[in-house]
Symmetry: C2
Subunit: 320 residues, 2 copies
């Protein structure tokens, strides 16, 4: 075994050269955030822009991990390489990311054509919304052409993250309409492809009708000319998985041809920039305002002498 370099520069070169341990270490640096992550972004940005990203999300228990694993098997049978980023709010107590029920993916663990990473981002100040694009940019820069991003479809940030893919697949189950465990409105908004997984269970046809009706109500055809197709699967057996990937490719062709892909990527980049700006400004405001004044205004807010909006405006000087 070759030794893995320690500094980001050498790690980056090694990862570009195909070193999996080097890529793994860089992803750990991204997870941690700070100067390391920033340096990686600086190197990765000019080399990126060639990866296609597919988000997979859905309610807890919908079978996202199983479907992701089945999609990976399908892609491998076609000879395609793929990277998987599993966003894991269930980060461990013990340090180091656990794969949890993603254990199913372990069938791919020894396959050099697959790179799977479970990412917890509790150390990253920007949280999921900044760590995810940084990790995707890194995969892209070191040569991955296809990146799957899997998130749980419950939290506000988690659904947004899944929606920031080139194509987003939303996984539901029969009976989904009765459940309030998922961020349904958020999921409806980000879906480019719907998958009804576990379609062998009762209520599949009703769920399909419900989804069609919601798509009718949302007027999805008019807007951009793409109506999310609804694909049926039993991910545990692999049934329907090829159809899922066909639907993803159909959306990809539509997005490329219509200019939607370009618009979406531009919007995403601007959105990320806006978040980074906010974070840098926060640091800068502290310098500008002076620690003493900052502390005084904070104390005023703590004591409820003023509300946060008024204090914020005083801190950054829009009131002066």
């Amino acid at each position: 075994m070759t030794a893995v370099p320690r500094d980001p520069e050498a790690l980056f070169d090694a990862a570009v050269g195909g070193s999996r341990p080097a890529l793994a270490r860089l992803l750990s640096l991204v997870e941690r955030g700070g100067d390391g992550a920033r340096e990686i972004s600086r190197r990765a940005a000019p080399r990126s822009g060639n990866a296609y990203t597919v988000g997979l999300t859905g309610a807890p228990g919908a079978g996202k991990s199983t479907l992701t694993s089945a999609v990976v098997s399908h892609l491998r049978s076609q000879g395609e390489q793929v990277a998987v980023l599993a966003i894991d709010p269930s980060s461990p107590f013990t340090g180091g990311a656990i794969l949890g029920d993603r254990v199913r993916m372990q069938e791919h663990a020894t396959d050099d054509g697959v790179f799977i990473r479970s990412m917890a981002t509790r150390g990253h100040l920007g949280g999921l919304s900044l760590a995810t694009p940084e990790a995707v940019r890194l995969f892209d820069a070191v040569g991955h052409r296809l990146v799957l991003v899997e998130t749980v479809g419950v939290g506000q940030v988690e659904v947004e993250v899944a929606g920031k893919a080139d194509t987003t697949v939303v996984v539901v189950n029969p009976g989904w309409g009765d459940s309030v465990q998922a961020n349904k409105a958020g999921l409806m908004e980000v879906a480019d492809v719907f998958v009804i997984n576990k379609v062998d269970r009762d209520g599949a046809e009703q769920t399909r009708q419900d989804l069609e009706q919601m798509l009718d109500l949302a007027g999805h055809v008019a807007e951009g000319g793409w109506r999310p197709p609804i694909v049926s699967t039993v991910a545990t057996t692999g049934a329907g998985v090829a159809d899922v990937w066909n639907a993803v490719n159909a959306h990809r062709r539509h997005a490329e041809a219509s200019g939607e892909l370009e618009r979406r990527r531009a919007f995403r980049a601007a959105d990320e920039l806006r978040e980074v700006v906010a974070r840098r400004l926060d640091q800068r405001a502290r310098e500008l305002c002076g620690q003493e004044r900052w502390n005084q205004l904070t104390a005023d807010v703590v004591a409820r002498r003023v509300d946060p909006w008024t204090a914020a405006d005083e801190m950054i000087g829009t009131e002066r």
Copy 2:
């Protein structure tokens, strides 16, 4: 029926006077964010500081809503008034908040001593993390002395929001250790009281041992002198619910006596202020940087000529 006023000022006065429709309208303004929410915060801040907040969170299906409803019944039997804010990422397709499986709470719907509100915050630019403290501040200012905040314990923001209560109750189920559907590390971090709900199911004793072991590992006794107690319940029958509330009160007395409550509230206020500052600075940076330069730098990021961190620093001038 008296007419409900339309402007925020009159609404606020009416809500302070006990008008429930006025309070409901103010909460809708908070949900929507913007100038309306800011004006409400400005009025509410000086009148607030008297409410005790209790967060309830846990994995989807853990029985949070049932437990919340049972706690409300217990409080009512003691003659206490209570407000419930149910944070609902499952916001509806149809406008207006739905209560979903919170339908159980409808037994309290006609009780004047209870105010229940399900809040979706998709319109609020600050999302949950800013809308929730604004809503709590409003409840506080109009005279509520006890506010329960219920969130699903999966997303990053949702767990943080629950953790920003004076006392946070984390609801788990037997077998919790095997599930990766919840943000476990996040939940461990915010818990002041653990509830094992559905304790009549298999594996309850194992779950208790697991929790105790995790608390041992985390060294929870040393830090602040409070070790989260573990309470067993069957929320559907009400068994153990009085114990939950006793544990909450024990934590409250500890937090008040040790100064922890004051520290926590100060930290929370500073944290909220930091978020508001970031949002205001974002607006201001656009003014300072000039739209043309801003657009140019955004285009550079979109085209991957620079990374977002470098562009951000140019926008806000730390590189000059």
